[in-house]
Symmetry: C2
């Protein structure tokens, strides 16, 4: 028998993943949610606290409980790890990007979709073309992405705003490399150090929602991680 708080947890997660509850929306009080599931306030509270710990909800004493909203700040803070020599956040500037609709390749099975959009972005760091990011998402989860205005900066707030897809987790694989001249369309010299990053990003329900392959020319840059 599954504990009551787990059922509340699963049901709320599901409703948020389906878009039944949207970003920024206020939830009923603990007492009321408890009543809806035939549970006490304490049991509803347990589920709500767990959802808060996962970053799915935000709760504030005196205000209420809200579906967490992804902003440029939170997205950068969680998922953008490039820092300069002093440890300060680096902000690449978009040079150009293209969006293509195509068939998924075999190594994109995790997206579980035959058709995908690929967003290809070239960005400048300190004036130099030093970042190339190829982002792939399932076409059926992001319908009409090719016709939309895609944002110049963080994609995750856009995913949430336009499609209700909240990115909460990512697993990355990093490898250093030595550049060939002009590799990946970047302004890099042969023999320069590069950092190659592959990312799988997951949504509220833990499903893979995005894949990326990035190349960064790393003169003076570092990648910062916290392990727990």
């Amino acid at each position: 028998m599954e504990p009551l708080y787990r059922r509340i947890l699963a049901d709320l997660t599901d409703r948020i993943a389906r878009g039944d509850l949207s970003p920024g929306q206020m939830l009923p009080s603990e007492t009321e949610i408890g009543a809806q599931y035939g549970a006490s306030q304490g049991t509803a509270r347990k589920a709500l606290s767990l959802l808060e710990a996962r970053g799915i909800l935000e709760r504030r004493q005196g205000r209420g409980t809200f579906v967490a909203v992804s902003t440029d700040e939170t997205a950068l803070f969680h998922f953008f790890r490039l820092r300069d020599a002093a440890g300060a956040l680096v902000t690449p500037v978009l040079e150009r990007q293209s969006v293509t609709l195509r068939d998924a390749t075999p190594d994109e099975v995790a997206l579980d979709s035959p058709r995908v959009y690929e967003i290809d972005r070239l960005r400048r760091i300190d004036g130099r073309l030093a970042a190339r990011e190829r982002v792939v998402v399932a076409a059926d989860r992001f319908p009409g992405l090719g016709e939309r205005q895609t944002p110049a900066n963080a994609l995750y707030p856009f995913y949430q705003r336009a499609y209700g897809v909240a990115i909460l987790t990512a697993s990355e694989t990093l490898a250093p490399a030595v550049a060939e001249a002009g590799q990946d369309g970047l302004e890099v010299a042969a023999g320069e150090a590069l950092l190659l990053i592959r990312r799988q990003a997951g949504d509220v329900a833990g499903k893979v929602a995005e894949l990326r392959r990035c190349t960064y020319a790393m003169a003076e840059l570092t990648y910062a991680v916290d392990l727990r």
Copy 2:
């Protein structure tokens, strides 16, 4: 007024950090801990659950609550992120290591100690000298480290077993680099890709307990991270 559960939390953390409660030791039951602090079982439970979430305690229904023990497995799982091309854990083999007692350098102020031990390790990956790790700890927290037998593999279980210092967190800074021939005493050719990693590792109380500077020759290797 600080909430009761926070005082229990802080006090237990402190007792573990001081070595008053040692790794593997069983704690009293929830009810009894509550009684010791003049609190109910539910309040003690809240503190204990938080300590479990932080990895400081381990709790098991029917068995009891125990101070978490660092094993080779948990240490590798949390803090050793090198993987081979297939994503499997890489196991470097110790070639040789040396331990030196010396004055702390200015960039080691985080250790808050005038004297430090430096453990310098060279390790083989797939038969090649491909890993150099320089580990620095405060001499007064690890007395006699130079005279002890230091382990061939994971240091963190050793820190905990021998000195009661449990490593729970680490922030790392990664940078790719291009090797010079024989750099850092490794068997690397000029122009090969390297990964440089600096780490600050924190203990139960959040204090910096260890610094490391590592160099890895990365042919076919990757570094895996999970972001949340």
